[in-house]
Structure formats: structure tokens, C-alpha cells
């Protein structure tokens, strides 16, 4: 455990001492802010039965940013260490591979949370500025926060695995991008010529990001997506551990 905290601290430092973290944070906050404003404007023009939060988080535009965000913050995790050869020093130090994997993963999740946190400033800010009564209830805020955390845990795990698979950061980024996007679009298979309502499309939709986030952003906390995201993240991390260990057995 001791080594975990030392490695975790080192990862966080190297994130926040590099310009990448700040560039991503600034652009991401700008993008979300712009989306938020567009959403408010859209709701002024057309009456919506749904809350602002629901509309924001179920918009495809909102998730576009995430396709880029996850590759950017995870691509260097293992690929860079392997490219530079520093992995050799890391894995010949008296630390367990599991500690290395978990430390890198946990640090990246923290980075992710720091980057998305400003989104939740929008809602209180909106109310303070307009002086309107609640356009949404607090359950929706907590629910969607939880949704974002779960999505982060899952997608950072995808990125961690992708980064362990290659020494090339660009390839790691592409892999993450494709899988994050595929996972998201599983919910839209019915829009791509598949028979709506069939068991196949319904099954696929169940895996999709939007499907879960919609119920969460209405304030409905369902244990199924929680278990789904947590268990899949654990499986992905176990795979990452396996990939790193298998380097030793390289034939």
C-alpha cells in the first residue's frame, strides 16, 4: 500500500506539472460552458418536459468531448514508460505490478474528476444569475455526478489497458478513442438500420453510456449501472495487470 501512495503521488505530480493537464482542462471547461449556454437557449425557444440537467447530459454533443478527453489523459500511462524504458526501473523496484497499475489508474481518475468538476459549478451559477427557482432537483445533480464518476472509472480503465498494450502513445490514444466511442454508440444501433425493439438492439442498448446516464440524471439511482461500471472497470484493470506481467514472459 505504501508504494501505491508514493506512485499515486508521483503520477499526479507529473500530470499537474505538465501543460497538457491545463490545456485539456481549459478547453474542456470552455466546451462544456458553451454547450450549457446553447442548451439554455434551446430551452428558451422550445418548451421541454425534461430538466436542464437531463437535456445537457443526454445530448450527444456533451459526450463528444469525452471521446477526446479519455485518450488524452490515459495515452501516456504505460506507453510512455515503455517507450522511454523507465518501466524497467519501475518493475525492478520492490513494488508489485498491481500497485503500479492501480496507482496510475487512480491518479488518472482523480485528474478526470478535476477536469469535469467545473461542470457542476454551472448549475448553482445558473440559478444565482437568473434568480429563478430550481429548474431541477438536487437528486438530479447527485445522480448525474455519480453517472460522470462511473463513466470516468470505466473509460479510464479502457485507456489504461490500451496504453499498456503498445509503446506508441498515438496508437494507445486511437484504441481508447475507438472503444470509448463504440461503447457510447452501442445505444444508437437502432438508428443504424437495425430492427428497433429486437432483443439484439435492446441488449446492446443496455451496455451504452447514454442509457445509464439518462436514468441517473433524472435522479434515479439504479444499482445495475453501478455494478456494471465497477465490475467492468475491475475486469479491464485485471487485463492491464495481465498485459504488464506478460511482458516478462515475452517470447
Amino acid at each position: 500500500m505504501r508504494a501505491f501512495f508514493i506512485l499515486f503521488g508521483k503520477e499526479l505530480r507529473s500530470f499537474f506539472l505538465s501543460p497538457l493537464a491545463y490545456v485539456v482542462m481549459a478547453l474542456f471547461t470552455f466546451l462544456n460552458g458553451w454547450l450549457f449556454i446553447s442548451m439554455v437557449k434551446a430551452m428558451q425557444l422550445q418548451v421541454s418536459a425534461r430538466s436542464l440537467i437531463y437535456n445537457l447530459f443526454s445530448s450527444g454533443w456533451f459526450w463528444m468531448g469525452y471521446f477526446i478527453l479519455f485518450p488524452l489523459i490515459t495515452m501516456r500511462l504505460f506507453a510512455e514508460e515503455r517507450k522511454m524504458g523507465t518501466i524497467e526501473g519501475l518493475l525492478t523496484a520492490p513494488v508489485r505490478t498491481a500497485e503500479v497499475v492501480l496507482a496510475k489508474y487512480a491518479a488518472t481518475v482523480v485528474v478526470y474528476l478535476v477536469i469535469v468538476a467545473p461542470v457542476f459549478l454551472f448549475f448553482p451559477l445558473f440559478q444565482a444569475v437568473t434568480g429563478e427557482g430550481a429548474a431541477f432537483h438536487s437528486g438530479a445533480v447527485w445522480g448525474s455526478a455519480m453517472g460522470l464518476i462511473l463513466v470516468g472509472l470505466f473509460n479510464v480503465a479502457i485507456g489504461t489497458l490500451a496504453s499498456a498494450l503498445t509503446t506508441n502513445q498515438l496508437i494507445a490514444a486511437m484504441l481508447t478513442f475507438v472503444f470509448v466511442m463504440l461503447h457510447y454508440f452501442l445505444g444508437f444501433l437502432q438508428n443504424f438500420g437495425m430492427v428497433p425493439g429486437s432483443a439484439w438492439t435492446a441488449g446492446m442498448a443496455y451496455f451504452s453510456t447514454t442509457e445509464h446516464i439518462q436514468s441517473l440524471s433524472e435522479g434515479l439511482i439504479d444499482s445495475r449501472p453501478v455494478i456494471y461500471y465497477l465490475s467492468f472497470s475491475a475486469v479491464l484493470l485485471a487485463f492491464t495487470h495481465l498485459v504488464i506481467e506478460s511482458r516478462k514472459w515475452r517470447v
Partner: protein, 347 residues
């Protein structure tokens, strides 16, 4: 300290290290010598638990490299080839991080880092970014990292690779000093380094151990004929015939003629010293000479000689693999030639 038994590493279609067994005793400085691609780094990586062996095993400080990998890693200070470091960290920050993940506490790591920086002459530059360091400084940071937790065993993979001659001399001194406190296994292809620092040399080639002895014994074992250089004033022809007539002289060659001076390279029987007879001849003929010297055999000669032998002739102790002998002999000849070229360039 190290006991390797039949260590083998196979990569796809290629055996990098083939059933290598050796021991390193406590307090020894052992040089691991071999041409590029001989399997040196692979062996060291197996000993440091970075790679797993395909067959065989090893114990380091009494711990098995599989069963007690963490215990082994606690006791080994390893400096990988080319010294990979995090470029975005400062020297002291990096060493603190390394000391901490090697199990030192907050306070202990401060002392350990400043001590390691003193040993490696890094005091005064501790706040520099690693990305701005020269090769020589990077090597020192790598060495400071290897010895920061005072491990019993230091494993250094080509520690002087890419340094200038002055830095090589400095690091040689440093390694000698470190040998007083640590057991050291050092891999290199720079022979002068081994000759001056190591008590024992293990020569490895194509994944086989070809020799393991002190540098002096290896040179003594050398079956190379002796060589004497004689430079005299006069003409080649009568002199050459007269030198050839001396008992024990096998061959006389002319190195160069400059003005009146001729320089001969005289190859002799390895067991006979012809210098006294040569001197008598010079006196008899009343030649003027300005050089009469025997060229001492070096570890380099021993190294080249050992690599030129066929694998099974060199080490009867190791089982000869199913090699086509003619083929491998021809190939190892080539290798030895290439190696000796690059060696003369690097020493």
C-alpha cells in the same frame, strides 16, 4: 550472492541465453563481458526480475527470483542499459522518489539521497531537470539511483556506455570504490574497464558462457604467439634474413620504412623470449637501433582468442548444443573480427 542455474531465455525462434550457470560470491566485482547481442542484458534482466527465464532459475542473496521476487528486488540496485530516467523530474526529486519506492521512509530517504549524490558527485546540481542533463550526468543519476538504498548487490548494465574517456576513467574509480561495500556485477564490452576494475571476468557469447576467470589468468591462458618489435637503421634485406635465422623466430614482417629506419614485427614461438638473442645479433652486426620491445598480450587478445574458438572447444563444462560446428565456427570468426574492430575503436 548470485547463483544462476541453467538460465535460459528463448525469444521467438532464437535462444538469447542458453543454459547459463554461474556464481558470484559476496564482495566480488565481476565483469560480464561479451560482444553486442551475446545475451548480457537478457541475463541481467532475468536476475533483476524484469524478464522471466524460459528455463532454469537463479537465487540472489539467497532468494529465488520467482518465489521471492520482491525480496530479490529489495536487495539489488540495478542500472539498466542506457539509463532510462523521467525527463520531467529534477535530480533530487527523482532520487527521492526512487528511494521511497525502494522502501525508505520519508526521513531516511533524505539522508540516503544526499549520501548517494555525494558518492556520485551530484552535489550542487540536485535541482537540475533531468531532461537538461548531459549523458555523463545521467549515468551518475542512474548510479545514484542504483545505490540509494544501499543494496547488497549492484547490477550495472554497460555503465560507461557513451561516456568520454575522462568520464570513463572517473566511473572506473567510482566502481572500484563501490566494490569495497557492494558486490558488483557489471556488464560491458569495454575491455580496459574490466581489466582494471574486475576481479573476475565471465565471457559470454551467443548465450553461452565461454570463460570465467580472473583477467590475469585469461591472458596467461592465451595461446597467441609472442610478438617483438625491432626498429633499426639499415636496409631490409640482409637484416631480415639474419633475424629469421634466430632460434624461435617464426616470421618477420616489415611494419614501415622511414628514411634509414626500418621497423620489423617479429612473430615468435610463445614459449621462447628471443629478445636476448636479438640484442646479441644487433651487437654483432653493429646496427643502430631505437626500439626493441615485446608487445604484451592484453585481455583484448584473450577475448578475441576465446571468441574465435568453437563453442564446444572453449567450455567442456557446458553441454554443447546441437550446433552445426563448421557453421558456427565460421560465424564466430566473423563476429570476433567485427568485435575486435569496434574494440580498438572504443578503447
Amino acid at each position: 550472492m548470485i547463483e544462476a542455474r541453467n538460465l535460459t531465455k528463448r525469444y521467438a525462434g532464437r535462444t538469447a541465453v542458453d543454459s547459463v550457470s554461474f556464481e558470484v560470491g559476496k564482495g566480488e566485482i565481476v565483469g560480464f563481458l561479451g560482444p553486442n547481442g551475446a545475451g548480457k542484458s537478457t541475463t541481467l534482466r532475468m536476475l533483476t526480475c524484469f524478464l522471466s527465464a524460459s528455463e532454469g532459475t537463479a537465487t540472489v542473496a539467497g532468494y529465488d527470483i520467482y518465489e521471492d521476487s520482491i525480496e530479490v528486488r529489495r536487495r539489488v540496485g540495478y542500472m539498466p542499459e542506457n539509463v532510462p530516467l523521467y525527463p520531467d523530474m529534477r535530480i533530487d526529486e527523482y532520487l527521492r522518489f526512487r528511494a521511497r519506492i525502494k522502501g525508505l521512509g520519508w526521513r531516511a530517504s533524505r539522508f540516503a539521497v544526499s549520501e548517494a549524490m555525494d558518492i556520485c558527485s551530484l552535489a550542487g546540481v540536485e535541482k537540475k531537470m533531468i531532461s537538461t542533463l548531459s549523458k555523463g550526468y545521467k549515468q551518475r543519476v542512474g548510479l545514484a539511483d542504483a545505490l540509494v538504498n544501499k543494496p547488497e548487490l549492484l547490477i550495472l548494465d554497460e555503465p560507461t556506455n557513451g561516456l568520454d574517456p575522462n568520464q570513463i576513467r572517473q566511473s572506473r574509480e567510482l566502481i572500484k570504490r563501490l566494490g569495497e561495500r557492494h558486490t558488483i556485477l557489471i556488464s560491458t564490452h569495454i575491455l580496459s574497464e574490466v581489466e582494471m576494475t574486475c576481479g573476475r571476468v565471465i565471457i559470454i557469447d551467443r548465450g553461452h558462457i565461454r570463460a570465467s576467470d580472473s583477467p590475469q589468468n585469461l591472458i596467461r591462458r592465451l595461446r597467441k604467439p609472442g610478438s617483438v618489435i625491432l626498429e633499426l637503421k639499415g636496409v631490409v634485406d640482409p637484416a631480415k634474413a639474419k633475424i629469421e635465422a634466430i632460434d624461435g623466430v617464426k616470421e618477420v614482417g616489415v611494419i614501415h620504412e622511414r628514411g634509414d629506419w626500418v621497423s620489423f614485427a617479429i612473430t615468435t614461438d610463445p614459449l621462447i623470449d628471443v629478445r636476448e638473442d636479438l640484442f646479441a645479433l644487433v651487437q654483432r652486426e653493429k646496427w643502430s637501433i631505437r626500439e626493441l620491445a615485446s608487445r604484451a598480450a592484453s585481455l583484448e587478445d584473450a577475448f578475441v582468442d576465446i571468441l574465435q574458438q568453437t563453442p564446444d572447444a572453449a567450455v567442456p563444462a557446458v553441454e554443447a548444443p546441437n550446433l552445426d560446428l563448421e557453421d558456427s565456427a565460421a560465424e564466430s570468426d566473423d563476429d570476433a573480427e567485427n568485435e575486435s574492430n569496434s574494440l580498438t575503436a572504443s578503447t
